[in-house]
Every structure is written in structure tokens, then in C-alpha cells.
């Protein structure tokens, strides 16, 4: 390696580690939001790097909507065992009691109750003053302006018009009791950076990212995988086996698959380099209306 230059991935890595250490040093009770997706996998890997040889000095929190792909949950539990991190799983018990789900109540209400509300419940319950997230600025227009240390009010709201200026690598970690900071170590990473880094560092990811024959139905132009028998099939709908993979992972009824034969990381990266659709395209919740992500974030959605 050229001694005088760190490659872009090593620079991004160092920047993320710096952010992890700042938060660990400045806050009393940080937590890492762990969504099991590829960005979370990179986040976890970087956290292990940042504190080595110490263990990660904060717990991981998974907000389980109960509608995640089964393979995600399996992956999560195996990894927790293998790495020995402290895993907290939170499910919105009210939502479960009311039987909230994406099929019965629609994506908006389901996401609001089982994800946004549930996250707030967990943050309030454990009284975390900082929460790491895996969001990247390249994901969506409103994220491009979000700070690395992003302030949240007592109600977990983000105020895009009133953000703290953020200069150099000096982060303002001051909050009053009840307020918190969302910290985004992957702010400056792009989707391609993430994949390259996963390959370079051999980071474990959920197999759903790799193409395989899976049972899917086509709905509203999206390929939805039939992951369990809770999915009601419409008249004339029969799941068919197609070679698909996922570019993002979330609740299976809300996550569109893409047809692909890329069954290895190199193939995925190759596909990325000629990709014609951005990764959020597979997410139903962004499509509601222009600016929808911004609205959700103000309300406290990650």
C-alpha cells in the first residue's frame, strides 16, 4: 500500500471508527440500532474495530416488527452468539395485542406502530442518550443534509431547519436529560462503498442479499417473497420460484426483490456497477409521496 495515501475505504473506515469512539467517550448510555441489514453488518464490524481489544462497550438494539424475514432473525441470533455482543430485542407489545400488520393495516400504519413507535418505546424504556444508526447520506435526498451527530428532542423528533453546525471532526455531544443524539458513522459511505468493504473485509451478511430461487408474487410492480403463511394471496396469485435477491432488507411484505442471478459478492458488485435502479426503489414506504422520508424522519423514523 502506498504509505502516503489511505484508500477511500480506509479513510471512510477511520472516520467511522472516530465517530464510534467519540460517542462512547462522551455519552453515558449509548446503544447501537441493529437492523440486521448489510449496513448494520458493516456498522457492527466497525464497532468491533473501534474498541478492539475491548468488547463493544454498548448493547445492540433490534426493533423487531415481527414481520422480518425469518432468515434475518436466524442470522441475528447466530451472530450474537458468535460475537458475544449484548443484544436487546424490542417488540411493540401494544401493536402485537392489536394485531397490527402490513397486510391488515397497510404499510404506513404498520411502520408507524411497529417500527417508529416501537423504537421510541425502547429508547424511552432504556433511557439511551445516544443511538448509532446505519443511515447513509447517499440513500435519500433529505438524508444528505443530516448531521453525523443528529440532535433529537425529547419526543425523538428531528428538526431539519434547526440543526447544529458541524465542523471539522468536532462533534457537539451535549444534550439535556431526555434528549438524545442519533449518530451516523456511515454518513459518508455510498452503497457501492458498503459492498466493496463487505467483500474486502469478508463481513457476514444475511444470505437474502444473494440470488437464489425463492417463492415470489408480483404486486404493484414489486416482487414480494412469500416468507410465511401469514401472507394472504389474492385471487389468481400463485407464488412462483424465481431467482431473486434483495438490495435492502426490512419487513418481508414491504420489501421488493430484484430478479438477479448474482449469487456471490463479486457478482453483486458487478451488478451494482451497471445497476439501473437505486436501492430504496425496493421500499414501499418511500413511494407514498415526494418528501415522504423527510416527513417520517421528523416523526422519529430512523
Amino acid at each position: 500500500m502506498n504509505r502516503s495515501k489511505l484508500s477511500h475505504l480506509r479513510q471512510l473506515e477511520a472516520e467511522s471508527i472516530h465517530i464510534f469512539r467519540e460517542v462512547a467517550a462522551e455519552f453515558e448510555k449509548p446503544v447501537m440500532l441493529y437492523s440486521i441489514g448489510k449496513d448494520s453488518s458493516v456498522l457492527l464490524h466497525l464497532a468491533r474495530k473501534a474498541f478492539h481489544p475491548s468488547p463493544i462497550p454498548f448493547p445492540l438494539l433490534h426493533v423487531d416488527t415481527t414481520w422480518k424475514f425469518r432468515e434475518m432473525i436466524e442470522f441475528r441470533d447466530n451472530l450474537a452468539k458468535e460475537y458475544g455482543f449484548d443484544l436487546l430485542v424490542h417488540i411493540n407489545a401494544d401493536g402485537v395485542e392489536k394485531g397490527i400488520g402490513p397486510f391488515s393495516h397497510g404499510s404506513a400504519l404498520h411502520t408507524d406502530v411497529m417500527k417508529t413507535e416501537s423504537l421510541k418505546q425502547a429508547l424511552n424504556h432504556y433511557k439511551f442518550d445516544a443511538a448509532f444508526g446505519g443511515a447513509r447520506r447517499d440513500e435519500e435526498a433529505s438524508r444528505a443534509k443530516e448531521r453525523v451527530f443528529s440532535f433529537r428532542s425529547e419526543n425523538h423528533r428531528w428538526d431539519p431547519k434547526n440543526q447544529r453546525p458541524e465542523l471539522w471532526n468536532l462533534y457537539n455531544a451535549r444534550v439535556r436529560p431526555g434528549e438524545s443524539i442519533r449518530a451516523f458513522p456511515l454518513s459518508n459511505w455510498t452503497e457501492l462503498d458498503i459492498w466493496q468493504y463487505i467483500y474486502l473485509e469478508n463481513i457476514p451478511i444475511v444470505p437474502l442479499y444473494l440470488a437464489k430461487e425463492r417463492p415470489v408474487v408480483e404486486r404493484d410492480g414489486m416482487l414480494i417473497m412469500v416468507d410465511d403463511d401469514r401472507m394472504p394471496l389474492k385471487d389468481g396469485e400463485t407464488p412462483e420460484m424465481r431467482s431473486v435477491r434483495f438490495r435492502t432488507l426490512g419487513c418481508y411484505p414491504l420489501t421488493g426483490a430484484v430478479e438477479s442471478t448474482a449469487s456471490t459478492l463479486p457478482e453483486i458488485i458487478q451488478e451494482m456497477l451497471v445497476a439501473r435502479t437505486s436501492e430504496r426503489q425496493g421500499r414501499l414506504i418511500d413511494k407514498d409521496q415526494a418528501g415522504s422520508m423527510e416527513k417520517k424522519k421528523q416523526e422519529g423514523y430512523f
Partner: protein
């Protein structure tokens, strides 16, 4: 593995090897409102093929709906992230955009051109390696161009691209390009740029963006992207002396004690000597630890954990430095300060100063002048408002280590945080250390505070009376002093009005002067407490932070805040001095309770209900408190 995957694997291996060599460049684009900044960045994203079909579909639809290009694709829409801003048709915050070529990954800070947003530009420039300054070829150099260039230079950027845009609208005329270039070079002479690269562009049409344009055969320089891909950056960072602010002490067990941080400059090898300059302790490097194995050598930009051969006391906020070439360590320095908050700077107020990993209290000990960003003229000033830039001296609570910003952007920059609102209110770059403080040592004396207090049969303390004008503070304080005196106690009463006739007669009633007023009184009462006196201070003292500052000057338990809680209506009704009437009539400005705020104490030791208690009762309540707590 199939033959197909093998090919993919080897191709990707090749590709990833190339990526290992790929560098990163951060740049900022600055220009006035209609210079076409957003269009330029949109164009770079477009031309580096970083747009996806669905983004294009959205862009096309949005261009028709709200675009400014008459239905043609409006690249600027890609950049305007927030909905409200999009509707106003302007960007008003810093947004970061990403694109990559085979040679480099680029991070672009897009910042607005409006005057009121100096804050955002300085923010975007703080992490940038170079700046792209846009100029509309039809307009030439504007006041804004000068302002942007000054800010870019202030923040330490030494290489700029002069992007002379909209050349298509002046028929790609060479004379126009040459004239603007010459004008700029003349003006920028004083700004200390190393490189100025003028490029004739049309962001909208794509001329000289990724490739040399046929429309400018007279131009021999690089296309914009060529320049961005090849311009040298960070050449000197490795040759600078070693600096690593300690972020986090890594202690997994009793056998391991490492110091984690990101190397700000220079290189370090196992066995080399280091010093922690604020304590002067030295040691040698035992190991450079990373998750991927120990290193023999580490350099600027890497995040590592260093262990030492000696057990020395180092914690977050300290800095590991080269033995031979140490930073300055001082509690005073001169700096250029950019004010970033709607609430103006209050000299004498203590702010939290964050530099590297250290946080300390700091105040502006002298504000020399402010700089007009348009004319670069200096003007005397007592404060700084939002987006103003001042040259000032700062005095810190304790000595910290730093370098002049011109030598090191990482260890020479700081932010100021308001302790009460927690807002980031200022950003500064250090010019040089001031050594004066080193020459004024505390005179240690044999007779100390305790001895003086004991002789008087009391525990020295401050009774700090706060409340609105007319709340009854002075009346009660007077009575308390009488009662203490009759008990043979030694007291002194500092009254707001009286002090303003002497010690503080040079001060008015602006926020800045009010803060200084309180600072002087707090320092005076500290001396009186040192003399063993029970000191009564009767001041409106409307701001929480200044009362907190006074409290901070004294030892724990010496400061007793007495909140005379009388509602505004009652105070105004009493209006003993006739001041409320004048304030209501507009004859007095900045009157507390009328057009200046009073921040109610949160943790007062004694609260007097001024609407119910008589002065006599209130005085007894206070004497009772002093007796129970053992002050008298």
C-alpha cells in the same frame, strides 16, 4: 463455482485492487444564488453515471413540476434535499453529495450563496481539501465571490478552482474568460492561495466538465473532472510532527491500557518517544494496536490504539505528540472566530470550547475587531452577531495543547458550545498562543480564607440575591445585613445600583455589558469571601449562565442563591424608582421583564415568596437558613 462466477471473481478482484489505490477528495462548491452550483454538481453526478433510472424518472417528473429549465431536465433538483427548501427554490443548508471515478471518490459539500448563511459555508469548507468557486461569466467577480474566497481562505483551503460558468451565454469568448481570471488573481493575491485553476465551463451544456470542450479551443488547461482527479492534496500532513488527540482509554483488563485516537498529523513507529505536553510526561511506544493486527508504523488519518512502555497518567482530552516538535500548551490564545448563533456572542460569558478531544471552559477576554467579509475592513466591536467574524483573545479554564491552524487544521480548530442551550454557537481557528498568563502566578499567602473566617467566628459565603427590579431584593438584603451585624458577624453588601456608580460605571445595559457587570461583581465577591466576609450581593442578574459562572468561582457550599420570587405585576405596581413606567414608555431599553428576559433560577438554595412574605419575615427566613447550615 461456475466458469461465469470465476470470471466475475477475477474481474472484481482486479477492480477491487484498483479500488485499494483509489483516493478520496472532499471539495466545496461556492457561488452566488444563480451561478449554477446545484446544476454543476447535478451534472457531475449525471456525467459520472451515478444516477439510477428511478432517480432519473423522479428528476424528469420533478423538472416538469417545479423545474426552472422550462421542462428540460433541471439538474439542480437533485441537490435540493428538503421539501420546504425545494419549494422555495433555494438550498439553505449544507448538503453532502457523493460520486466516484476510477481514480477518486468525491465528497461534495453544497452550500448556499446567501450572505446570512456564512455559517453553512464555513461548515462545508471545514472538511474540504479544495474549493470550486463559481462565477457567472456574464457577471464577473461579485461581492459574493470575494466573500466566498475570503471564507475559503480563512478556513485554510489553499487550492481553488475558478469555475467560470455559463460560458455558453457569452459565446465562449476567450477575452471574457481572461478578464475574469485576471480580475480574480488581482483580488485573491492577499488570500494566500497556492493554486488558482481557472476553467471555462457550461454546467448546463456540459462543456469542460468531464472532457475538454470543442467550444473552447483556446483553452489549454484541464477539464474540471481531470483537475479534481489529479490535484495533489494532503502533501504536507505526513511531514508534520506527530499528533494524536486521545479520544478513549482502552482498558479491557488490568493488563492492557491503550490510548485510542485518530492520528491528526505525522507518523509514529514502535519504539519512538512521545510526550503528553500538558503534563510534560514522556514515554515510548510499545505497540500500535488495531483489530487487523499490530502495526510497526502508523500515519496521519489512521484510527489506532497506542500502548506505552511507561505507566503515565493520560486520559481523554490529552494529546500524544512528537518529543522533538511539541505543540503550544497555553490557557490563552488569539483566534479568528466565526459566530454561528442567532443569540449574539457575550464576551465574559463562559462557553465550552471543544478542540480535538478536549473540552474546557473559555471566554473571550478581548474582542479586537470584526472583519467585514465583503470589504475585508476591520471595525471595532463589543460583540459578534450571527455570521460575523472577529479576531479575539480567548482565556481558558486550564491550559490545553494545540497548534496554529495554519500549521495544522486538526489541532488548531475549535468549536464553542453554549452551556445552557447546548447549541454550537461558534467556530474558531487559532492564530497563536498568548504567553502572558504564564507570567502572572498566583501569589500564595500564609493567612488563608479559613483562618480569616475562623477569626470572625463565621463561615464566609455569598448570599446572591436575584430577582426582578422592585422585587424587594435590596430591602431584604439590607435587613439581613443589619441582623448579621447586630449578631457580631462581619459582612459586606454589594448593591447593583451602587456598584454601577463606581466599579462598573463604564458599562451599559446591553446583554454583553450585563454579563461583564456580573463577572466583575462575582470576582469581587470571591475576593470578599477570601477575606472571610459574609458577602451579600443584590443584583437583578437575569441570566442563569452568569449566576452559574459566579457559583463556579466559589467553592462548593459557599454560594447561596436567594431567589426573591415576586411576580412582575407586583413589581410593576410598586415601581419604587419609576423605572417600569419609563420602560413601558420606551424611554429605557433592555429593561428586565419588559424587553429583556429574566431566567428563573432552577436550583436556588433559598426562595422568598415576594408576593406574600414581608421583608422582615424574609430576612428571618434567611438568618434561619444560615444558622441551621452552620454559617453563623
Amino acid at each position: 463455482m461456475s466458469a461465469h462466477t470465476q470470471t466475475a471473481a477475477s474481474e472484481i478482484d482486479q477492480y477491487l485492487k484498483g479500488q485499494e489505490e483509489k483516493g478520496m477528495l472532499r471539495f466545496i462548491t461556492c457561488g452566488s444564488v444563480d451561478d449554477g452550483k446545484s446544476t454543476l454538481i447535478g451534472r457531475l453526478l449525471w456525467d459520472s453515471k451515478l444516477l439510477f433510472e428511478d432517480q432519473l424518472a423522479t428528476l424528469t417528473a420533478e423538472s416538469k413540476r417545479v423545474g426552472t429549465q422550462g421542462g428540460d431536465i433541471d439538474y439542480a433538483l437533485l441537490l435540493d434535499g428538503l421539501q420546504a427548501e425545494r419549494e422555495q427554490g433555494i438550498t439553505i443548508d449544507v448538503a453532502y453529495r457523493f460520486f466516484a471515478t476510477d481514480k477518486r471518490k468525491f465528497i461534495v459539500a453544497d452550500t448556499p450563496g446567501h450572505e446570512q448563511y456564512t455559517r453553512n459555508m464555513v461548515t462545508g469548507a471545514s472538511t474540504a481539501d479544495i474549493a470550486v468557486i463559481l462565477i457567472d461569466a456574464r457577471k464577473g467577480i461579485l461581492t459574493q465571490t470575494q466573500r466566498h474566497s475570503f471564507l475559503v481562505s480563512l478556513i485554510g483551503i489553499r487550492k481553488v478552482v475558478l469555475a467560470i460558468n455559463k460560458m455558453d451565454l457569452v459565446e465562449f469568448k476567450e477575452e471574457i474568460f481572461n478578464k475574469i481570471t485576471k480580475d480574480y488573481q488581482e483580488f485573491a493575491g492577499q488570500l494566500g492561495f497556492e493554486t488558482i485553476q481557472p476553467i471555462p465551463l457550461s454546467a448546463l451544456k456540459g462543456d469542460n466538465i468531464t472532457a475538454k470542450s470543442e467550444n473552447t479551443p483556446w483553452y489549454n488547461g484541464p477539464a474540471l473532472l481531470d483537475f479534481l482527479e489529479t490535484v495533489q492534496i494532503n502533501e504536507t500532513k505526513l511531514d508534520q510532527p506527530f499528533r494524536m488527540p486521545v479520544q478513549w482509554v482502552n482498558r479491557p483488563n488490568l493488563d492492557f491500557r491503550g490510548f485510542s485516537g485518530t492520528i491528526a498529523s505525522g507518523t509514529i513507529r514502535v519504539g519512538e518517544g512521545i510526550v503528553e505536553p500538558s503534563s510534560g510526561q514522556t514515554s515510548t511506544v510499545k505497540e500500535i494496536v488495531t483489530f487487523d493486527g499490530n502495526l510497526e508504523e502508523a500515519f496521519a488519518g489512521q484510527a489506532v490504539t497506542i500502548t506505552l512502555n511507561d505507566e503515565i497518567d493520560i486520559s481523554r482530552g490529552d494529546m500524544l505528540c512528537a518529543l522533538q516538535d511539541r505543540p503550544a500548551t497555553a490557557d490563552q490564545f488569539e483566534a479568528k472566530l466565526v459566530w454561528m448563533n442567532e443569540e449574539e456572542l457575550l464576551p465574559s460569558r463562559n462557553y465550552i470550547l471543544k478542540l480535538g478531544s478536549s473540552s474546557t471552559l473559555a471566554r473571550i477576554s478581548s474582542l479586537k475587531y470584526k472583519v467585514n467579509v465583503n470589504t475585508l475592513e476591520h471595525t471595532a466591536t463589543k460583540t459578534l452577531a450571527l455570521n460575523e467574524i472577529g479576531i479575539c483573545n480567548l482565556a481558558l479554564d486550564k491550559a490545553i495543547s494545540f497548534d496554529p491552524y495554519a500549521e495544522n487544521r486538526q489541532t488548531g480548530s475549535f468549536i464553542l458550545i453554549d452551556r445552557f442551550s447546548n447549541a454550537t454557537v461558534g467556530a474558531g481557528v487559532i492564530d497563536f498562543a498568548l504567553r502572558r498568563a504564564d507570567n502572572i502566578h498566583w501569589q500564595s499567602v500564609d493567612i488563608h480564607k479559613e483562618a480569616r473566617s475562623e477569626q470572625k467566628g463565621q463561615k464566609a459565603s455569598v448570599l446572591w440575591f436575584t430577582g426582578l427590579s422592585g422585587s424587594g431584593k435590596s430591602t431584604i438584603a439590607n435587613l439581613v445585613e443589619k441582623k448579621l451585624h447586630s449578631k457580631g458577624k462581619h459582612t459586606y453588601l454589594l448593591d447593583g445600583d451602587n456598584v454601577r456608580h463606581g466599579l462598573n460605571k463604564d458599562l451599559g445595559f446591553t446583554d454583553a455589558d450585563r454579563v461583564e457587570n456580573i463577572r466583575r461583581v462575582a470576582e469581587t465577591s470571591r475576593l470578599f469571601v477570601d477575606a472571610g466576609l459574609i458577602t451579600l450581593v443584590s443584583f437583578i442578574s437575569p441570566f442563569r449562565s452568569e449566576r452559574q459562572m459566579a457559583r463556579g468561582l466559589l467553592e462548593d457550599g459557599e454560594f447561596l442563591e436567594v431567589f426573591v420570587d415576586t411576580p412582575l405585576e407586583i413589581c410593576e405596581e410598586r415601581d419604587i424608582k419609576g423605572l417600569y413606567a419609563k420602560a413601558r414608555a420606551g424611554e429605557i431599553k433592555n429593561f428586565t421583564g419588559i424587553d429583556s428576559s429574566y431566567e428563573v433560577p432552577e436550583n436556588a438554595e433559598i426562595i422568598i415568596d415576594g408576593s406574600k412574605a414581608s421583608a422582615e419575615d424574609a430576612a428571618d427566613q434567611i438568618i434561619g437558613y444560615l444558622e441551621t447550615k452552620g454559617f453563623i
